[in-house]
C-alpha cells in the first residue's frame, strides 16, 4: 500500500487535524507514514499545505504531480496546489461552485449543522465515500473517536457522517 496525499487550506481550518487523522489511521492499519507541514509566512489566515505519505516512503515531501489524493479546504487554493496531484488523481474541494473535481459545500453543510469548525470533517467524509483513500469509514470513526477532544467528539463524528452520506 502506497498513497500520497496533500491537504491544503487556510490556517485555522483544521488542516493539521486532518494530517494527524491520516497519520493515526495509517498507524492503526500498521502502515508506515511520513508527514510534512508547510506553513505560509502569514501568521493567521495564511496558506497551509501538508503532505502525507502512507507506505514505505523515505522523503517527507510530495513532488509536483505525484499525489494520489488532494483535499482542498479553500477553493482559492485550487490553483496553488492542484498541480501537486497526479493528472488522474482525486481532488476533493470545499466549494460552493462546481469544477473539474469533486466538490461539496462543506462550509455550508457544517454551518447548517451548527458547527462551522467541522468543515474539515465534512470534506473528509465526502472524500472517503468515493473509496479513493487508503482507509475506510470504520477506521476513520475509530481514529476520530480517539483523536477528538471529548467536547468535540459528537460534532466531529456528525460532520464526518454528513459528508459521508451527502451525494
Amino acid at each position: 500500500m502506497k498513497q500520497q496525499l496533500i491537504v491544503s487550506g487556510t490556517g485555522g481550518q483544521g488542516i493539521l487535524f486532518l494530517t494527524r487523522f491520516f497519520a493515526e489511521a495509517a498507524m492503526m492499519m500498521r502502515l508506515e507514514v511520513l508527514t510534512s507541514e508547510i506553513h505560509g509566512m502569514a501568521m493567521r489566515g495564511g496558506t497551509v499545505v501538508s503532505h502525507v505519505k502512507v507506505g514505505p516512503f523515505k522523503s517527507p515531501l510530495v513532488r509536483e504531480g505525484q499525489a494520489d489524493v488532494g483535499l482542498i479546504l479553500s477553493k482559492q487554493n485550487v490553483p496553488l496546489h492542484r498541480s501537486l496531484v497526479k493528472p488522474d488523481g482525486l481532488i476533493f474541494v470545499n466549494s460552493d461552485v462546481a469544477g473539474d473535481y469533486f466538490s461539496i459545500d462543506a462550509s455550508k453543510l457544517a454551518i447548517d449543522a451548527g458547527a462551522p469548525a467541522m468543515t474539515n470533517l465534512v470534506l473528509l467524509g465526502f472524500a472517503m465515500k468515493q473509496h479513493g483513500l487508503f482507509c475506510e469509514a470504520d477506521v476513520a470513526r475509530e481514529v476520530l473517536t480517539r483523536l477528538s477532544p471529548r467536547a468535540h467528539l459528537e460534532f466531529n463524528l456528525k460532520g464526518f457522517d454528513i459528508g459521508y452520506t451527502s451525494t
Binding site: A23, M41, A42, S59, P60, S83
Partner: protein, 616 residues
C-alpha cells in the same frame, strides 16, 4: 523493559526521544527554529522517567554548551541542542571541546536550515564539524534521527569525543511513525576525575591533544560500521554512482525508485559525512568513472572526495545555494545521466500576505511611537518577532543575536566624532535577546560613554520560537518556579542612570518618555538611556491580561487616507470598499481584534474611536 510502541513523532521529538531513551541525564538548549522542539519534547518525555534528568533553557547557546560539557566530564551522558547560527555563539567552547574531549557521551544537535526558511544564513554545521574535527551524523528522517542519537552516544563514549547530529528543517519538522522503547537506565554516579593537563590544558599540552584528536578521527574514518550504506545490485558493473546524505538522500532514493535507476546507477547513503569513511573514498575512486554528490547545504562530502570526476555543489553541477527540493534533484540526476530533463511544471506561487506583528502585539505601538517621535532617527534592532518592526519603518538593521546594542554604539561614535548633529538613535531588543547577548553590549556602551536610547521590548516571553521562558519570569523549562532575574536591576548595575518602565499601549506617555530619554542622552551629564517597554505577548498563555478592553469602531470621519494601514498595519484593521466612493475606508475586523484600544492614537482625523470601554 523492552516494551515497544509506535508513536507519531516530529523529527525534533524523535531526537528528544532518542536522548531520553539513551540515558542522557542533562539537556540544555536555547530556542531557535528549526531546533526549538528538541528540548520541549525532552521535558514531555521526562514525565515517564525513572531517573533524574536536568533540562534547561539556557541563557544562550554558549552557556548551554558549557553546562552540558561539564556534565559529561562527570561520566554522565549530556546533550545540547541549537540552530545552526546558535553554534556560532557556542563556537568557542565547541572548538576546544574537540581537543579536550569528553567523558560521558556528549551529543551536540545543530539544526540547519537550507532554504533558508527562518535564518540569517544557510551555513552547513557539518562544515563546522569538519573545522572543529568532530564527527557528524546526517539523518534523512525522524526515525533515522532517533537511531543516530544512540550511535552518536556510543561513538562519543568509545572515542571520548563530542559528536554532532545535524538535522535539517525538513527532518526536524517532518513527522513519522517511530518505534519508542523504554529508556535505558544507566545508573551512573557523577564522578569527576581531576586531570588538569586535559581539563585545563595549557598550550603546552595542546600539541599532544591535537595529535590525539587527529588519531581519533583517522580511526573513526576507518570504522566499517560507519561507512556509507550501498544500494548496489552486486556485482555492480556501473561506472556511475550517486552519493547522497540527509533528507536529500531521501528525495534521491525516491527518484531512483520512480525513474527505475537502481539497476543502472549505484546509490550510496552517507550517514557520517565527516570524517568521510576512508575506504569508501578509495573505493569510489577505484570503481567509478563519475560520481554525483547530492548534499545540503555546503559541499562537505564532495570536498573530502576531492578530484575532478566528482560532480556536486563545489563543481557547480548542483546549485551552490538553497534547498535541494526533489524536483531540483530530478533535474541534476537527468543531467548527470546525460538525459534532457522534462520541463518542470511550476507550482502556483502563493499570493501571500506579508508577515506582520499579531493584532494587539505590544511591539507595534512601541515602534509606532519611536517612528513618530523621531522621524529621522536611526533604528538598529535584533532577532525576534520585533524584526517585523521593519514594516513600520522602525527597524533599520538586524544582524545577529544581541548585535543591535553594539551597532547603536557604532552609529553613535561615527556621528559623534564628526562634531555635527547626532540623529536620535533608538535601539530595540527583546527580553530574551537582551539576556542572550545584549548585556555585554550594554556594559560596553556605558564604559565607552556612548549616548543613545535602548528600548527593551519586554513581552515576558521568547515569542517567536514558541513562548519559551526567559530568565526574568522565574519559570524553568518544565514550568516549575525558580528565581527571577530583574532586567531593571541588571540595567542599573551596568551603570545606566536613565532607566524607566512604560506600558507601550499608552502611546502618548511612551512618546513623552522617548523625548525625555533623548534629552538625557544629549544633556551635559547625560549618557545611555534605557526604557523598558513592558506588556505581555497576547498570544502567550501565561500573559498578564490588560485591565481594560476597548471595543473599537471607525467613524465617518475616516477619509480613506490609509495612514493606519501603512504606519500601524494591525491585522485587525481591514480595508473596505465604500459603494459610490472612489476611496475605501478603514474598518475593524472583530474576529481578529483583541480590543487593546491602541489604534485610537493612530488616526490623525480621530476617526478610530472607542465604541465601548469594559473593565475586567
Amino acid at each position: 523493559m523492552n516494551r515497544q510502541e509506535q508513536r507519531m513523532l516530529m523529527g525534533n521529538e524523535a531526537l528528544g526521544r532518542g536522548l531520553f531513551e539513551n540515558g542522557c541525564s542533562l539537556v540544555a538548549s536555547y530556542p531557535g527554529t528549526p531546533a526549538s522542539e528538541v528540548l520541549a519534547s525532552v521535558v514531555a518525555f521526562s514525565r515517564e522517567a525513572e531517573s533524574p534528568l536536568h533540562i534547561e533553557w539556557s541563557i544562550n547557546e554558549k552557556v548551554a554548551f558549557e553546562v552540558a560539557l561539564a556534565h559529561s566530564y562527570t561520566g554522565k551522558r549530556a546533550a545540547v541542542a541549537m540552530k545552526q547560527v546558535g553554534l556560532n555563539v557556542a563556537a568557542d567552547p565547541f572548538m576546544r571541546s574537540a581537543y579536550l574531549g569528553v567523558k560521558g557521551g556528549f551529543v551536540l544537535i545543530s539544526a540547519d536550515d537550507p532554504g533558508p526558511h527562518s535564518s540569517q544564513t544557510e551555513q552547513d554545521s557539518r562544515l563546522f564539524a569538519h573545522f572543529a574535527k568532530v564527527p557528524v551524523f546526517d539523518p534523512s528522517s525522524p526515525r533515522e534521527a532517533k537511531e543516530m542519537v544512540k550511535k552518536a552516544f556510543e561513538l562519543s563514549e568509545r572515542y571520548e569525543i563530542p559528536v554532532m547530529i545535524r538535522p535539517t528543517t525538513r527532518v526536524c519538522h517532518a513527522r513519522q511513525n517511530v518505534t519508542c522503547k523504554q529508556p535505558k537506565l544507566l545508573e551512573r554516579r557523577a564522578h569527576f576525575e581531576k586531570d588538569p593537563s586535559r581539563w585545563a590544558a595549557t598550550p603546552q599540552f595542546i600539541y599532544d591533544l591535537h595529535k590525539l584528536l587527529n588519531e581519533k578521527m583517522d580511526k573513526i574514518a576507518a570504522e566499517k560500521a560507519l561507512s556509507p550504506v550501498p544500494f548496489v545490485s552486486l556485482p555492480s558493473r556501473n561506472k556511475r554512482c550517486v552519493i547522497a546524505s540527509g533528507v536529500a538522500f531521501a528525495h534521491t532514493y525516491e527518484l531512483f525508485e520512480e525513474l527505475r535507476l537502481f539497476d543502472r546507477v549505484d546509490l550510496f547513503q552517507v550517514l557520517l559525512p565527516h570524517p568521510l569513511n576512508r575506504p569508501f573514498i578509495d573505493m569510489i575512486h577505484a570503481n567509478y568513472k563519475q560520481a554525483l554528490v547530492i548534499e545540503e547545504t555546503y559541499p562537505v562530502i564532495e570536498l573530502q572526495l576531492g578530484n575532478g570526476k566528482i560532480h556536486g555543489r563545489k563543481s557547480g553541477f548542483v546549485p551552490r545555494q538553497g534547498e535541494l527540493m526533489p524536483d531540483l534533484i530530478h533535474e541534476s540526476l537527468e543531467r548527470f545521466l546525460g538525459r534532457t530533463s522534462r520541463p518542470q511544471r511550476t507550482a502556483g506561487v502563493s499570493p501571500g500576505k506579508r508577515p506582520s506583528l499579531c493584532a494587539g502585539c505590544p511591539h507595534r505601538p512601541a515602534f509606532f511611537a519611536i517612528k513618530k517621535t523621531f522621524p529621522k532617527g536611526i533604528f538598529p534592532s535584533d532577532i525576534g518577532c520585533y524584526t517585523l518592526g521593519m514594516n513600520l519603518g522602525a527597524v533599520d538593521t538586524c544582524h545577529c543575536m544581541g548585535a543591535c546594542i553594539s551597532q547603536g554604539a557604532g552609529f553613535y561614535h561615527s556621528y559623534a566624532q564628526d562634531g555635527g548633529p547626532i540623529p536620535p538613535i533608538v535601539v530595540t531588543i527583546g527580553d530574551s535577546t537582551f539576556f542572550h547577548a545584549g548585556i555585554p553590549g550594554l556594559i560596553n556602551c556605558v564604559v565607552q560613554e556612548s549616548r543613545f536610547i535602548i528600548v527593551i521590548l519586554d513581552n515576558s516571553t521568547t515569542a517567536m520560537t514558541g513562548h519559551q521562558p526567559s530568565p526574568h519570569l522565574g519559570i524553568k523549562a518544565d514550568g516549575s518556579p525558580t528565581a527571577a532575574v530583574s532586567i531593571p536591576g541588571i540595567v542599573a548595575a551596568s551603570g545606566v542612570r536613565f532607566l524607566r518602565e512604560c506600558d507601550p499601549y499608552d502611546v502618548p506617555a511612551f512618546s513623552a518618555l522617548l523625548q525625555e530619554a533623548d534629552a538625557h542622552c544629549r544633556s551635559e551629564e547625560g549618557g545611555m538611556a534605557v526604557i523598558i517597554s513592558k506588556r505581555s505577548c497576547p498570544v502567550d498563555k501565561r500573559a498578564v491580561r490588560p485591565e481594560r478592553l476597548y471595543a473599537m469602531s471607525v467613524s465617518d470621519a475616516c477619509d480613506g487616507c490609509r495612514l493606519c494601514m501603512k504606519q500601524f498595519e494591525c491585522p485587525a484593521l481591514e480595508w473596505v470598499e465604500v459603494p459610490g466612493k472612489k476611496r475605501g475606508r478603514a474598518a475593524i475586523d472583530k474576529a481578529l481584534c483583541i480590543e487593546c484600544g491602541v489604534c485610537k492614537h493612530v488616526c490623525p482625523k480621530g476617526a478610530i474611536v472607542v465604541a465601548e470601554e469594559k473593565a475586567i
